[in-house]
């Protein structure tokens, strides 16, 4: 994989998409344990129903973690300076997610050459689950 460089990257460039397997109950059980978020609304159907939800649903931090994979696949993690998202919709069991993003700005700040990325996670109906931005330092 060739690493992006500041000179070579252009505003409007799309990052290679990351396609994820469908979300299953197992995905959520593993993520609950691994992430430390044991909120039962994500792993216990009885609890989810008692909280007024039709079913368990994914932790918001799961698709954000996928976005982290997506970003660090494009450029090595130590070059990531900032990463923020808004959670726009619940991700249900069975969702098929993909991560995408593009370069929206290039600038210099405090001697660092940075690119700003617009990033997001959508399902296979095109519904946006997360949207946000990231700053990556490129040499």
């Amino acid at each position: 994989m060739s690493l992006p460089t500041f000179d070579q990257v252009k505003v409007g460039d799309e990052l290679p998409a990351l396609e994820l397997p469908r979300i299953t109950r197992t995905t959520l059980a593993l993520f609950a344990g691994a992430s430390g978020d044991h909120n039962p609304v994500h792993i216990d159907l009885d609890f989810a129903k008692s909280a007024g939800m039709p079913d368990v649903f994914a932790h918001g931090m799961l698709p954000m973690a996928y976005l982290g994979r997506f970003l660090t696949h494009w450029a090595p993690q130590p070059q990531l300076r900032h990463f923020s998202v808004r959670f726009l919709a619940i991700t249900p069991i069975g969702a098929k997610l993909s991560c995408g993003g593009k370069v929206v700005e290039k600038f210099e700040r405090n001697g660092q050459t940075l690119v700003k990325l617009e990033i997001g996670v959508v399902d296979d109906n095109g519904d946006v689950k997360l949207s946000g931005d990231a700053l990556v330092e490129l040499k």
Binding site: A34, G36, A48, M61
Partner: protein, 152 residues
């Protein structure tokens, strides 16, 4: 509406030791297969000093220590009613397996929307390593649904 007296409330600071096994478990849970996130030798070959902590992993620190759950109890919010609204990370240094990280968090804002149907809690955290080096700052916006006030 959550009592605004909690704005500025400092949460108990906590220490978190980054364990290799936990990082591998996290990698598995998010489908990460790149060797530098799973294998120490591959991590070192990629220029890391140990297995790197992935970008969103440290979100779990407050949860692990039970701090978030205790806070929600203090605020009188049932855990089944919360949603994650926003999350941001500002990175200052890469953290690795074996680091012992200190997390200091405070509630920086509380506000309501939709006539009290939704309450928002903003939590800011600073994470430093065992040498006092600033690793990252995080901001979480937690949304609490208030079904009763909504129907009223």
């Amino acid at each position: 509406m959550i009592d605004p007296k909690f704005i500025g409330h400092q949460l108990p600071s906590t220490l978190f030791e980054v364990e290799k096994g936990r990082l591998r478990f996290f990698a598995k849970a998010i489908g990460e297969t790149r060797p530098e996130y799973l294998d120490e030798a591959a991590a070192k070959a990629a220029g890391f000093r140990n297995l790197p902590v992935p970008p969103t992993f440290l979100m779990g620190v407050d949860l692990d220590a039970g701090i978030m759950f205790t806070l929600l109890e203090e605020l009188g919010i049932p855990i089944g009613n919360i949603l994650h609204g926003e999350q941001s990370f500002t990175y200052h240094a890469q953290a690795y397996a074996g680091d012992v990280l200190k997390v200091e968090s405070r509630i920086s804002d509380i506000y309501s929307k939709k006539g009290g149907a939704l309450d928002f809690i903003v939590k800011d955290s600073m994470i430093t390593d065992q040498n006092g080096v600033k690793v990252m700052e995080t901001r979480s916006v937690i949304v609490a649904r208030n079904p009763k006030e909504h129907s009223a």
